[in-house]
């Protein structure tokens, strides 16, 4: 089979995957069977899924609801101070237990038949368990402990709460690796607070968005705003760090060199337009809060989490798959709790750069859909992921697709494809 792996299709026929990591067949974004298997093998597999921020659940009883893959999950601070997470599904008939985005509760009760759960997700009472007037009710040996929503193991790293359904998932810092862990610590160096939340539904398979996040090659080509204002260009210093496993990445852009740079103009690329200047350049002001000259750091944690520092604009993004050709991107914009008023004001201005209306991220909202639509009749064709070689190693250039290849290395390993 010359190294080509084979994936059985829905009709039982085998689908070839070209050898190596430089080709990705388009059926991976299209098949329902793949999407279904991803739920079990990826999201419910040996991965850490982002659940919420620790500041979302500061006190006992504080909860937030979230989604892991397609699984609804309740995250709650327990009596012992630990953060618990359990499937938001009543053990009785499967209804959602918790219907709010967040709040505070002493315990949880399913609205359907009032079955109750403690803050750890244990079933604690069944309404009319012993029947009414001696009639009806559950069997005498009915064991509440034997049923209940699935529980996730949680971990907290730098104020981020992650959860996993697998006992095989290694400790978070081993999962991320030393280098990526250090990059998370760098950004989240002190307590944060939420300054806004937005949801951006995208018309594409979730993997296309994650590839886009890891694709350091596109940033200054698709996003003209950045390139024109020298916020980032490939000829600026920086690079991409890829974890040992390939699963996670952090790309960085250093403060620009002052020397004139004609790389783009010489190549005649669309993204250099000298006539474009801002009337109010206030949002381009940058404070070096980290003291390391890194203007921009985009970090991803497999399978669906992004930590973003674009200048002084901080956000976490959570990818929520919605079937084969749709997903939701959950944005949470952050500041530090001890921001001075003028630093906070700068962050609010810089929020214009990101999100659904972001000067530099708007295009990321539609480009995945362009691929989804462009490949509609090309399930057996392949994308070319060959920039910067064929490996997944850390590189000192962003003109590479190493982190995208890393994603596929991890994805294929877990999917067994």
């Amino acid at each position: 089979m010359d190294g080509t792996s084979v994936q059985p299709g829905l009709d039982g026929s085998a689908r070839p995957w070209p050898p190596g990591l430089t080709r990705v067949p388009f059926w991976v974004y299209q098949e329902r069977d793949i999407a279904r298997q991803e739920q079990a093998r990826i999201f419910q597999g040996p991965v850490w899924n982002f659940l919420c921020l620790e500041v979302d659940v500061p006190n006992t009883g504080d909860f937030r609801t979230t989604i892991v893959g397609e699984m609804p999950v309740v995250v709650v601070r327990g009596d012992n101070g630990a953060v618990h997470a359990f499937e938001n599904r009543c053990a009785h008939r499967g209804a959602l237990i918790c219907l709010e985005d967040g709040g505070s509760a002493r315990d949880f009760a399913c609205v359907y038949h009032a079955w109750r759960y403690d803050l750890c997700g244990n079933l604690t009472s069944v309404a009319f368990r012993h029947g009414v007037n001696g009639q009806g009710g559950m069997a005498k040996d009915f064991d509440m402990a034997a049923i209940g929503p699935r529980k996730l193991r949680t971990t907290i790293f730098c104020g981020l709460v992650f959860g996993t359904l697998s006992s095989a998932t290694p400790p978070i810092e081993d999962y991320l690796g030393e280098a990526i862990s250090a990059r998370v610590r760098r950004v989240l160096k002190k307590p944060v607070e939420v300054i806004g939340r937005f949801i951006q539904p995208l018309p594409n398979n979730w993997k296309l968005y994650m590839e886009n996040v890891k694709d350091t090659y596109h940033a200054s080509l698709l996003h003209l705003f950045f390139a024109t204002f020298r916020i980032t260009r490939l000829s600026q210093g920086g690079g991409v760090l890829v974890s040992e496993s390939g699963a996670h990445h952090a790309s960085t852009t250093l403060a620009p060199a002052q020397a004139a740079d004609t790389t783009y103009r010489d190549a005649g690329l669309r993204s250099d337009n000298a006539s474009f200047r801002l009337a109010d350049p206030g949002l381009l002001e940058i404070r070096d809060e980290w003291g390391d000259g890194i203007q921009l750091q985009i970090l991803s944690v497999f399978p669906g989490f992004v930590l973003q520092q674009i200048h002084n604009c901080l956000a976490v993004r959570q990818i929520v798959p919605r079937g084969v050709d749709a997903m939701d991107l959950h944005w949470t914009y952050l500041g530090f709790a001890n921001d001075t008023p003028d630093l906070r004001a700068l962050r609010l201005k810089q929020c214009n750069l990101v999100g659904p209306a972001g000067f530099v991220s708007m295009e990321d909202g539609c480009v995945g859909g362009f691929v989804q639509r462009g490949t509609a009749a090309a399930e057996d064709a392949e994308s070319v992921v060959e920039m910067g070689g064929s490996g997944t190693e850390t590189q000192t250039t962003r003109a590479t697709e190493a982190a995208v290849r890393g994603f596929w290395k991890e994805w294929r390993g877990l999917m067994g494809i």
Binding site: G196, P201, L224, C366
Partner: protein, 158 residues
């Protein structure tokens, strides 16, 4: 009791504002604002919780001009247009020479292939003041969207 004349002025202004955007005369859009102003698009949930960030946030008319320049020259998005339906404004308190008002809105987005979506509904929370020529302009327009979801992207302002 609001003066009918004030109500009419606000309704006329809102109509002109909506027509400016819907007819793709975006270069005229910043002119509805004072030089020092606040224009923000956010959600009802963020507004209620006091979260200050917006998906669009401009604290000067120049920033609104920049938004239009970026749309015209930098940003990539498929051809689309809006149809704003703005409800009757209600006029709040007047403080000094500043009027507060609000008006509900509904925006339908039509894509280049003809697909139409109910893109946004919400309320404009406005503060207005006359300029030197006596024309009403916004010192503040908070676009409070009912939903937390913004489909695909928000390019054209609301």
């Amino acid at each position: 009791m609001t003066e009918p004349a004030t109500l009419l002025r606000l309704a006329t202004l809102n109509t002109a504002y909506a027509a400016c955007i819907d007819a793709d005369r975006l270069e005229d859009w910043p002119g509805f604002f004072h030089e020092r102003c606040l224009y923000k698009i956010t959600t009802a949930d963020n507004h209620k919780r006091g979260y200050a960030a917006g998906v669009v946030y401009a604290d000067s008319r120049a920033m609104l001009h920049d938004r239009v320049s970026a749309l015209r020259q930098a940003n990539i998005y498929e051809r689309q247009n809006y149809r704003h339906i703005v409800g009757m404004p209600s006029v709040g308190a007047t403080e000094g020479n500043e009027i507060s008002a609000e008006a509900p809105f509904l925006v339908v987005r039509t894509m280049r292939d003809g697909r139409m979506d109910l893109f946004a509904t919400g309320v404009y929370l406005d503060r207005l003041r006359e300029d030197a020529d006596g024309a009403l302009r916004f010192t503040e327009r908070l676009v409070i969207c009912d939903s937390s979801r913004f489909d695909t992207l928000l390019a054209i302002p609301l």
